[in-house]
Symmetry: D2
Subunit: 388 residues, 4 copies
């Protein structure tokens, strides 16, 4: 059963996902970093195929995926012999252009034709390509959820929706027109799986909207650390978490509105897990190009232990940011396909709770990842997606 | 329902447990560091009462608990107005004396009378005092499990059992003679809950033997960190964990045989949780008196992530060693009482798995603490020990 | 030889300086944290006396120093039996009010009378009190150096100078009128010792202007670490330094223009010491009240070693911010007095190079503190300020 | 002016030195990690030439340097096109065999012929090869200094000297017989530059004995950190330093007597720099092969600052152990040659103080490296070894 994949945002995560997938296909690499690789799943990740890719960086549009991937990763990891030759297509800018053009040259279809027309064009391409799963991997953008379908339509027509919202809507349209189930996997902070309006659209077409914001790096670890402390009834005095890196996402986060989006998804864990809002400072902190994709994380947590004494935990990490998310993507594409086949629609908390920083649906709780993992395993076994 | 407690080993953990308990009784402190404090339990920790205390340090034997506790903690934490006046009684040295006498002056009843006679003397005292729960908090000692009840009797008679083994046997005798259930909670590495011969004795008297080695500080955190990494299918390249402190337990661990005992209980998590024996160095590393009870822990973990790249996690902690264990003791006394009342006997994996470094029974698996916690909650709710 | 001291800015550093000084006077504390305490200096720190204190926080103006100090430090350190009863006088706001009034209620004399009049009032008080040494310890403020004495006069008259610049000018006026030498020690980032116009004024009155920005915490350590690496000819790939704390200074630094001032003095070390501008991110990062005065610092440095391999150094610190600076102040008051007596005037690079983040005069190099220390010792011995 | 080099101990440091030297010769690498590379020195490092190499590992003896180096470094760094073809000659075991044969198969000339005969054989080879500089890079060994030349001769004849002592004596003999100056650079802990008997022998032949134990990694950094703290008169409460690695030297240090040698040279800095013996634990801590040559260092330092408050500094490092030492070797060969030409003989504190953990001569002080660096620069400029 082939899983046809389309990607919005041909950045480093997409490159790592593509290279990793083809290395796995040619058998030259073990699936480390793919959470469920050790289980026998209903859909094998080797079935995933890259069909189309979209971007707004004019330096990438029109180039082949092979060339882009080769340029960005040839000095970092061994490249597989086969890589998709697909050309990167021009994507949508919508309300997300602001500030981005200071970082690199951008151009979107919605600058040339009406926003809704541009969205329909992309929907048609998704239909024509028989896409099963769409990844949203564009740069972090400022965005507000919709309050109603009317507002959604209005903002989209006026070009005031964000790019991610427009891509999700294009995916919904493609699915609606053909009756084919298509999953939209949102790996950035834009509230999509947390937007009931959006989730309802996907439920309507028996499709799936997973999200929001892939949980890699410091956030899921922090969730488990906080749970660890909470289970011992230690009172957190404060928690500080700094992140700095040199990839395009950190560059985009130097734009204050984008940073704020990230801060929200990163900070929501504190109260969700502890049950009280411990003093905290958790956010992407800066950009230094020379750090590259292997970001530096520093964390300091102080708590009160038995008899009122104060303990301290300091964590420092060097994490390859993009591969971590790419490894999750390998699982998420096949999981989405298997879930839709079993009739799961709208969104899926059990999967989001493990894979996402801000798991949808709206108001769903962020919980310790270790708990979410075992709950998800049970759920996937019941659905016979994991075979025992 | 009063829980009468006896303690073997009047060290810093015992001091913190006693002070904390009486501060909780007088309401001058919140129960931070007591894991189940936020639940409504069948037995309240305010019911715990210190009845007797034993030690082999000749500087302590004959002194009042109040005086010892005051001396060791008066500059560290506020002391409650009431503290037990009980005199510390002389304990057992057995095969555990070796090396200890270089650290402080020791003396045991078994040096004056036959080992079995000394054990029976203590059993009689436990009976006379109507003890419900016994804590084993003596210095880490070298010890081998028994292979049979015959071997147990032989080694005990010849004084070749360890002190902890002798105390556990005395507890068994007290219970056997009276029919009264008594729990023995082993918070040091000696294999007791991991020794089927010992566990069987306690099952025989409908009593409970919990252990081994209270899980505080770096070990349970490491368990959760390794689980976190394993759930993402990251391959651990190596894990290093250093511990250094200035309390008596770290002093005792400078004696190589004692250090080895600790290394065993600390290292067992690696293969249990990862499923393979990743290269590791995990052990108490040294003693520097000036560090005091707030030990320093350093950890370094490297793993392979998606696409074969290498990530790194460095953890540094300053942990108040004794209060952490004392907080667990507050829970364990009342839990033991409640479990025995509900007919649980021998040992109890569900509780050990969360509270102990090397959870009994023998060959039981070490698992992530976050998982063990939720499994234990479910178990305690089913037994109606946690009321919902 | 008494050293009469006046302080601008009755914050936590002033409190620690005052408490420490009086604890030293009553002999209840050793002078740890006072760099030159182990040498026999021409002027003893026991000669320092607090004569007057100024602030713009309306909650402090009119209160006694004793009360303010007691309130802020009584739970932190033992207080000496004697503390100055002096009342805090109202200071100057000038161009530095912006944003500050959102943090706490402020009021300055220059809001009531003309700026120049207010400055002269303070100059008269310094004269009347026979002040020898003035400390500038106000909140970090945005400020530009003067390009000429004309510009200085113009900006001061129009109230467009910063508060620190106005205080320095008041000090100059006091000295000019009386002929008495007065030292102004600038412990915040405002460029004063780095402003040739200001330094010339002090030279004119045979007085001394030391600064800028007291070198405590992470910056001088970073200087020595960079020197350490540079001496081995290692190529720095990047250096990252985060700082977070919960005192008023960190609060003030959440105002972007103030943060920028700090970033400048903190970053200047990189190129000065390495000889090239290695990629860096060095700045105060945030404010979390619960952290208090014991700030958290995290640093990551990567470099290329022999054969092109990459090493990494991660530093984490918990530093009591205010006492560190207060300890330097103890030395600086007496050093200033001794230097002026020996005819040193304007500014003094040899002393600034060790004690200041951005040592004046303008364009003077930031160098490793260990080198600066030995150069300063030599200089002070030649002047017979340190007796051998 | 060619500098002919011989190496005792064909391990990873020798491999890195040789590869690095030939990469520098072919111009494919910058001299990062070579401290004095930025100065114009009397002798260029490009003049250094590897002439002979000795080892006791039977797997290496008889093999070409090219093959050994290629095997150990081909996956780590780019190899230069030209590498010496020299065959590794069999070295001396002497009293240093103990325990080593458990780590790898060993064999020494002194097992076949009389110790003194074996030493003379090597001396003759050094003469024949016209060696200028000898590096001692053998595994850390237990060794005691000689009390007199008589004792030296006796212990050497009886095979009770250590291997390093025997190599140094062979070097002395070669120099004595020919009148040619030969430098012996001791980069391991064996007290040679700290042994007046040995230093006198080298002085007698106008030759130079530099040492002991190359200062790379954590020790020189600790020296500078302690100096940094001492200069601010902070009272060190304790200092802890752990080291763990996976190269042969860490393996050898699992043998307790060898570990003790390292602990001595590493700990001597504390009292030398602070002026008092602060509580400390500083030693190589363990061996985990998977860590490889990029060792992990963890350090914790607590001190008392002004007003009696406690600060803390935690340092974590990942350091390529062997390249760091190899980079120093590049300088030391040419420096030795230049020093001997200018008549420096015996040993040279000015150079040892910067490059060595335990700088000779005996009882010479360990000082901050930053100070030692500037003192050395001055010394080398006076001797016109560094041209200005």
């Amino acid at each position: 059963m082939v899983v046809k994949v389309s990607i919005f945002g041909m950045g480093l995560v997409a490159s790592h996902y593509i290279v990793g997938l083809y290395r796995l296909k040619e058998g030259s690499m073990k699936p480390y970093g793919v959470p469920l690789a050790k289980y026998d799943l209903a859909v094998d990740f080797l079935e995933e195929e890259i069909v189309s890719v979209y971007d707004v960086d004019t330096r990438k549009v029109g180039k082949s995926v092979r060339d882009i991937v080769t340029e960005s990763l040839k000095d970092v990891i061994p490249l597989p012999s086969s890589l998709p030759e697909t050309e990167v297509r021009k994507g949508l800018l919508m309300g997300s252009a602001a500030g981005l053009d200071k970082l690199f040259p951008v151009s979107g279809r919605d600058q040339e034709i009406e926003p809704m027309e541009a969205i329909e064009e992309i929907a048609n391409e998704l239909k024509k390509d028989s896409i099963d799963v769409v990844f949203n991997l564009i740069s972090t953008e400022p965005a507000e959820p919709f309050r109603s379908e009317e507002e959604l339509l209005k903002r989209i027509k006026e070009g005031k929706a964000s790019a991610a919202q427009a891509y999700a809507y294009a995916t919904y349209l493609a699915s609606k027109d053909t009756g084919k189930q298509i999953a939209f996997i949102n790996l950035i902070p834009t509230p999509l799986a947390n937007d009931p309006v959006m989730v309802n659209l996907f439920a309507e077409t028996n499709s799936l909207l997973l999200g929001d914001d892939g949980a890699t790096g410091a956030t899921p670890l922090t969730a488990d650390l906080l749970e660890h402390l909470a289970e011992r009834n230690r009172l957190i005095r404060f928690i500080v978490q700094f992140n700095i890196g040199g990839n395009t996402d950190f560059l985009a986060l130097t734009i204050p509105e984008r940073n704020l989006m990230k801060e929200k998804t990163k900070s929501s864990i504190v109260e969700d897990i502890l049950g009280y809002d411990a003093p905290h400072y958790i956010r992407p902190t800066g950009y230094v190009e020379a750090i590259g994709d292997r970001k530096f994380v520093a964390m300091d947590i102080e708590w009160i232990t038995f008899n009122g004494l104060v303990d301290e935990l300091i964590v420092n990490m060097r994490i390859n940011d993009s591969p971590a998310l790419a490894g999750l993507a390998v699982d998420l594409a096949r999981l989405s396909k298997a879930l839709m086949e079993r009739g799961v629609k709208g969104t899926c908390y059990e999967v989001n709770a493990f894979y996402m920083k801000n798991p949808g649906p709206k108001n769903a709780k962020n919980e310790a990842r270790i708990k979410a993992y075992y709950d998800m395993l049970k759920y996937l076994k019941e659905l016979k997606i994991i075979k025992e």
